[in-house]
Amino acid sequence: MRAYLWLIPLLPLLGVLINAWFGHRLPRRVSGAVACLVVFGSFVLGVAALIRLIGMPPGQRIIYHKLFPWISTGGFESAVALMYDPLSAVMVCVVTGVGFLIHVYSLGYMAHDPRYPRFFAYMNLFTFAMLMLVLADNFLLMFVGWEGVGLCSYLLIGFWFERKSASDAGMKAFIVNRVGDFGFLLGMMFIFAVFGSLRFHDVFKQVAADPATLTLTVTGICLLLFVGATGKSAQIPLYVWLPDAMEGPTPVSALIHAATMVTAGVYMVARCWIMFLNAPLALTVVACIGALTALFAATIALVQNDIKRVLAYSTISQLGYMFMACGAGVFAAGVFHLMTHAFFKALLFLGAGSVMHAMSDDTDIRRMGGLMKWLPVTGVTFWVGTLAISGIPPFSGFFSKDEIIWSSLAGPMGSWVFWVFGVVTAALTAFYMARLTFKVFHGQPRMSGEQKHHLHESPPSMAWVLILLAVGASLAGFLNIPPAIAHLLHLPERWTAAFTNFLEPSVGTHEQAVYLLEASVGGSQIGFAKLAHGLQHNAALEFGLMGITLALAAGAILTGRWMYVSRPGTGTALARKLPFLFRTLQNKYYLDEFYKAVIVRPGMALGNALWRGFDVLVIEGIVNGIAIATAIISRLFRVFQTGYVRNYAAGILAGAILIIWVLMR
């Protein structure tokens, strides 16, 4: 097992080297095939390792593999070491599995791009970095992957850098991510200062051993780490880069900005579950930010007209869900939603890509409509994605979203407030997805004659990927059937919450969470009385709440149908009736403008001041002063450079005489 764990990240790196060095000399077919095959190889290895992991007893499901010592200075040691536990396994399989499908899709989607090998080199590099992120057994190596995926995100958003908007979006993503990364970095230094190690195992063991005294410190660390997570996973207040990231090619949006990279923050929080459970305050912050982001992004998605932007805001909203689940102390629910989301959001993005492909790269849904007739495969699979994200059974989103909404109430840190946020967001999600799907695939065609003429279904490589992802999006939910439903249907024990049970060694059980939370507040004076209130076994309540959610989601979809198919124009009329609300949402609450006024402008002003004042006068003064002084002195000394050998010889001789004279004295 150990022997080939390192091959999982190495294979994509090999693909990078091949495509980066020889890509332009290889035929396109070979270049693309190499990129796909290496990711598929990693997927196979990942699944093999996963099977191996399942074969082990639950308590020991962890494989360490130290490759080589990396940094070793004084008291600081860090190794390039991999760790494969259930959480890593899930992430590896999602990253390589969905990643492979998206690579295959790209074969068709990018077929006409002149920078074909470069695209695949970047995609493979991204896969490598992401795998390092999820396989790392210490914070430092994880940070390497963390920065690596950020770099690839920047490179791929700006892939069509001839377009100014694309290169600007790339820079925006990079800079906003830097803010978050700074938090991560500080958190990491803090960890090292407190625990003297950056290995997950060492740090978590120390935290678990002494939860009561460490709470304050750990809260600080967790908040800093969460700043990193908000940057990478596009949460308030650092979410602004993700909608702009849609400037990149659509497979990139699907892979990086929906399925994998943006979930890195969720992964990191789940990885550090022990620390977060030891810091109830930080956990509350996580839950609040998650709940706010989920609702906030969902409201913006209601009125966007760009097909990819709707999906981008929906991604932000779903990531908010995941954080809400983590914040409620039920990390398994967050990771489960991460996995199902990877399937249906990749499916939705690739479907959007297929639509754009057919519409000659037009992304405005106001010019679409009735596309079901021309794009049946895309339409049907898109519907699967829509139903999944809306939480309609039996699609995967139902299971994961329901678990999150239930956890937000019944989790150790759950609350009715979070539940309300979750349910409202679920209804909004169902509505905007219905709006999007109905407007694109149903109703009257609104595109120009030119576009209509070119409408065509995508090539088989793309269509098959959509079908496979649709199967995944439909069935993935059955991995984790909630105990209440399983009990009702008399399902065998091993079908019940299989995913959660598998993940528990990595992210803890309910009992462990309660124990850590109680220990960290030193008794129960603040009051985690409800921690043990047994809400999580109240099946009747669970079914009732599930019914409310379902009814709201179904109602939202039907409302969407009524508004955009039966009575087109209702939406516009509504917008005219509520102009203020509509304009606020359309302009995304003016947050970009706010950032521009509060951060970008003063930053530019400061930069300009430093440039004109400090840089030009002081730095350039010093640099130029040195140059001028050198020139003056040189002018003095060049007199000696007569070019005549005899003068030089006389100089040498005079020097010799001088030296002898000094020695003689």
Partner: protein, 182 residues
């Protein structure tokens, strides 16, 4: 080794060295230098350095000087140079001043030094023989000796590269006026 022989032989060496400096013709100068080298070789013999004596005659007065003469003939430059008249007239004064200073230092050093050895050491019978030199060369001084071979190799390669015509002649067809490259 008496003053008489020393003064005679060293006188010859100095006189011919002067001939080198003052002769207008480079070939004459070279012949003077050969004579001076021979005198110095004789001094080596007086200092019981038989092997060095032979090498001095064979390598210096022989091989190296032949090389000089060969180049002179190759370039065939007429001795039109005024012996002591450079374009910088002050140069002669500078040379005289520096030379006087150097010589003065040497003399003063000798005159001042009380501990300077007044008579030759007692030496074994084979001192300065090829066997003696060889023992010293290949035992105590083996590393410098090996490095010497590298120096010679580098010099050989350098001379070949420098003298090659192709890389250096700026005008591929037509020799420069008055020049006889080969």
């Amino acid at each position: 080794m008496t003053w008489l022989t020393f003064l005679i032989v060293s006188g010859i060496a100095v006189i011919f060295a002067g001939g080198l400096i003052f002769s207008r013709n480079a070939v004459h100068g070279a012949m003077c230098l050969v004579a001076s080298f021979c005198a110095i070789a004789t001094l080596f013999l007086l200092l019981s350095a038989e092997f060095i004596f032979v090498v001095q005659i064979a390598v210096y007065a022989g091989a190296i000087m032949v090389l000089f003469l060969f180049v002179m003939m190759l370039l065939n430059v007429q001795g039109q140079e005024g012996a002591l008249a450079g374009r910088a007239p002050g140069q002669l004064l500078v040379a005289l001043a520096l030379g006087a200073a150097l010589l003065g230092q040497a003399v003063w050093l000798v005159a001042r030094g009380g501990e300077i050895i007044s008579r030759p050491a007692r030496i074994p019978a084979g001192f300065g023989s090829p066997e003696d030199i060889g023992t010293a060369l290949f035992t105590r001084n083996l590393l410098p000796f090996e490095i010497t071979s590298l120096v010679l190799l580098a010099a050989m390669a350098g001379a070949v590269v420098l003298a090659r015509k192709a890389g250096l002649s700026p005008k591929p067809n037509g020799a420069p006026a008055g020049g006889k490259p080969e």
